[in-house]
């Protein structure tokens, strides 16, 4: 389609102007960025100094789940919010039952999914001293969930909503719960008691990884579970809203 391509490529006046603007802006920012002296100390030293007290060996995990655990707590909530938002938007448009999945794929998925779960568990565990942690583990879990969803196992449709919700909320709720327990015992929100930091972080990470996995899979599913679904409605037939 050369014609459309041409039309596409040609920029109108506004676009040219905007391009110019963006180029200028980026150049300006680039100049500024290059002139910033690299003298800022950063927080590396602080992390290194406090590493021992964090209960984990990996500095990134220490920052994520101890020094700045509050950020992570809120961020797990962000993930959950995305799911709530997507559930509020639409039902899950799972593919039609009649799409045929090759048995090879089914077999591979059956084999791969448990392995991925294992990998995820390993990543979570490894997070305390090497690269890895809740997010990575959760991401692998989520990928496993995506595989299962794509292969369209019949039991996916029958997952009741409540356990799914429990799985989704588990991570954030557990995080908040631990935080409040810490508040109770040490007087500081998320201030882990002496010596328990490592274990608590591992627990939190495990719960969060599970939740993140489920969250990502639910996001892939693209909507709330529809347990009453006998016949699958194509989303287009969904009546458009009438009022407000």
């Amino acid at each position: 389609m050369p014609k459309t391509r041409n039309r596409h490529k040609r920029l109108d006046g506004f676009q040219r102007l905007f391009l110019l603007l963006v180029v200028c802006l980026i150049t300006l920012l680039g100049c500024i960025l290059s002139t910033i002296p690299n003298s800022a100390p950063g927080l590396a030293d602080a992390v290194a100094r406090l590493q021992e007290r964090s209960g984990v060996k990996s500095p990134v995990t220490a920052v994520l789940l101890n020094f700045r655990a509050y950020d992570t707590m809120l961020e797990v909530v962000v993930l959950l919010l995305a799911v709530i938002g997507s559930w509020s938007l639409t039902k899950s448009p799972l593919p039609e039952q009649d799409t045929d999945i090759s048995p090879v794929q089914m077999g591979v998925v059956r084999l791969l999914a448990p392995v991925m779960c294992l990998v995820a568990a390993y990543l979570v565990w490894q997070g305390s001293h090497l690269a890895g942690g809740a997010f990575q583990g959760g991401a692998i879990l989520g990928a496993a969930g995506v595989l299962i969803l794509v292969s369209d196992f019949p039991w996916i449709r029958t997952i009741p909503a409540l356990p799914l919700r429990i799985g989704l909320v588990l991570g954030p709720l557990f995080f908040v719960g631990i935080a409040l327990c810490c508040l109770f015992f040490t007087g500081k929100l998320l201030g882990y008691p002496e010596g328990t930091a490592g274990w608590l972080i591992l627990l939190i990470e495990a719960a969060c990884a599970l939740s993140i996995g489920i969250t990502l899979a639910s996001l892939f599913a693209g909507g709330r579970p529809d347990n009453t679904m006998k016949k699958i409605q194509p989303p287009a037939k969904h009546p458009p809203g009438k009022s407000l």
Binding site: A46, S88, L180, L183, K188, L244
Partner: protein
């Protein structure tokens, strides 16, 4: 119980943790959600009051998360503006919660209603409570990256809420809103990157104590400001606001217009007048003021031209936001606490008035099935309290005494005259005059009952739909009368620069 002491800073986390937990529980249980939500907003309101009391007795406080001190750990802090914003959120949020209950039960009880309303209510509560937690987190946070995350929480939940109504227009508006908000957050994040590269710090108090303000810091501030302006919908970056606010469900519109926008504005203001106050130039302040003036005029003109009530109210938000920015250039004539006082008055009055207006508009929409201004004659006969609430809120928008907006405008005009900047006076007065026109264009329709008009007898009548709006409108009107008390809190809560020591690891 040592942590139950009044002077324990741990109380600060209540307004964040309680709505957060309640939101999670609401999502988990999906039954008795109103009870959970109501108790959460009630606790939130009480916590805000308690924090004010704490501020008055013990002064500003800082709280280090997990006991990790500033450069590395995340700190929260209370000061005058923050607790007042919490109070604003608490009061408005409480009323909105009650209203939302009335709104949803009205629609669910409607015989023509479908399952859709049930679904909307089910997802409204967790989204709203998490949004509330995000807002409170924003007001209290003292760490710039943490602020980014709270902004994201607010942005995502607000966009989801805006799409809740299920109308195609609402979804489209919500998509635009989400993208704009994302663009805003990303620009803000780029600013954080510049800041971290230049200073290596994330804590606002420590950043404030840095005397160095090289080009890096300036660029960071500019980027963060642009991001926040996009989220605050200052003209000309307001394009996403009117459709998103006007097409949402009425309680959602109230939340978006009253609270969400104030969050990003508060942050912007804090950055400009507290953290980077030393790098601000007069030109930059004038640019902001100019944009604010543009917003006042443009928003008001658009509001006057609208045919739909909710769109009109949404454009009036655009206009009212301008006043907050006109305060920028005039700040040179006043000291810091005064600038805060004007912004706080304006924000609080606008939050209460605008949510009351959206609630009234929503109630009218529910009962009449449309919100075309032309056809809303004689609404007073069927919904007197709603119309009263709308009228009182309108009076606040016009900035008549004794509303909080009047106090704010008084201060603005006073500074403008004191520093001989005539043009601001003209803009402010013109904005108020146009506000008068667009408010009264509607009110005169509402209250006139032409001869031979038979008022519709309404079958459903929910008190929850009418009284919260009236209460908020009255609060906004009488805000000026409690002005000394608010000023007292602001004065008490301004952080003394010398109190904050740099560094300080445990």
């Amino acid at each position: 119980m040592i942590f139950l002491n009044v002077d324990n800073p741990s109380w600060m986390i209540t307004p964040i943790i309680v709505p957060l937990t309640a939101g999670l529980l609401c999502f988990l249980f999906q039954r008795k959600t109103f009870a959970i939500a109501l108790s959460a907003v009630l606790v939130n309101l009480l916590a805000a009051c308690f924090l004010i009391g704490q501020l008055l007795t013990c002064g500003p406080m800082r709280y280090s998360m997990g006991g990790w001190q500033a450069p590395l750990g995340i700190t929260l802090r209370t000061d005058g503006p923050a607790v007042l914003m919490l109070l604003m959120t608490g009061v408005t949020g409480f009323a909105i919660t009650l209203y939302a209950r009335g709104y949803f039960s009205f629609r669910i009880d409607d015989p023509g209603g479908t399952d859709r309303h049930q679904q909307q209510q089910r997802y409204f509560w967790p989204l709203w409570l998490l949004l509330l937690a995000g807002l409170n987190g924003l007001f209290l946070s003292n760490d710039i990256f943490n602020l980014y995350i709270t902004l994201e929480i607010i942005g995502i939940s607000a966009a989801s809420l805006a799409a809740l109504s299920g109308k195609p227009a609402a979804r489209l508006a919500s998509f635009r809103y989400l993208l704009s908000s994302l663009l805003g957050s990303l620009t803000f994040l780029l600013g954080i990157v510049f800041l971290y590269k230049s200073c290596g710090l994330l804590d606002l108090d420590l950043l404030r104590n840095l005397t160095e303000n090289g080009p890096g810091v300036r660029a960071a501030l500019a980027l963060m400001s642009v991001g926040l302006l996009l989220k605050t919908a200052l003209v000309p970056m307001h394009f996403w606001l009117p459709p998103a606010h006007a097409n949402a469900l009425a309680p959602v519109s109230a939340i978006l217009s009253a609270l969400v926008i104030k969050g990003s504005f508060y942050l912007l203001f804090r950055l400009w007048f507290e953290v980077f106050a030393s790098s601000i130039t007069t030109e930059a302040l004038n640019v902001m003021g100019g944009l604010g003036a543009g917003a006042i005029l443009w928003g008001a003109i658009q509001a006057m031209r609208q045919h739909r009530l909710k769109l009109m109210v949404a454009y009036s938000t655009v206009s009212q936001l301008g006043y907050l920015f006109v305060a920028f250039p005039l700040s040179r004539a006043a000291d810091n606490a005064q600038v805060w006082s004007i912004v706080i008055f304006m924000a609080m009055a606008h939050a209460c008035a605008k949510s009351a207006m959206f609630m009234s508009a929503g109630t009218i929409f529910l009962h009449f099935g449309h919100d075309r201004i032309q056809d809303l004659t004689g609404v007073r006969a069927s919904l007197p309290i709603t119309v009263l609430a709308y009228g009182i809120a309108g009076v606040t928008l016009m900035g008549l005494p004794p509303s909080g907006a009047f106090i704010a405008k008084w201060l603005l005009l006073s500074w403008a005259l004191a520093s001989c900047q005539w043009w601001w006076v003209l803009v402010i007065i013109a904005g108020s005059a146009m506000a008068m026109i667009y408010v009264f264009r509607v009110i005169s329709r509402f209250i006139v009952i032409p001869e031979g008009f038979s008022s519709q007898k309404l079958e459903f009548h929910s008190r929850l739909l009418e009284w919260p709006a009236l209460a908020l409108a009255l609060i906004s009107l009488l805000l000026g009368l409690v002005a000394p008390w608010l000023l007292h809190i602001l004065a008490k809560g301004s952080i003394d620069l010398t109190q904050i020591l740099p560094g300080g690891l445990p």
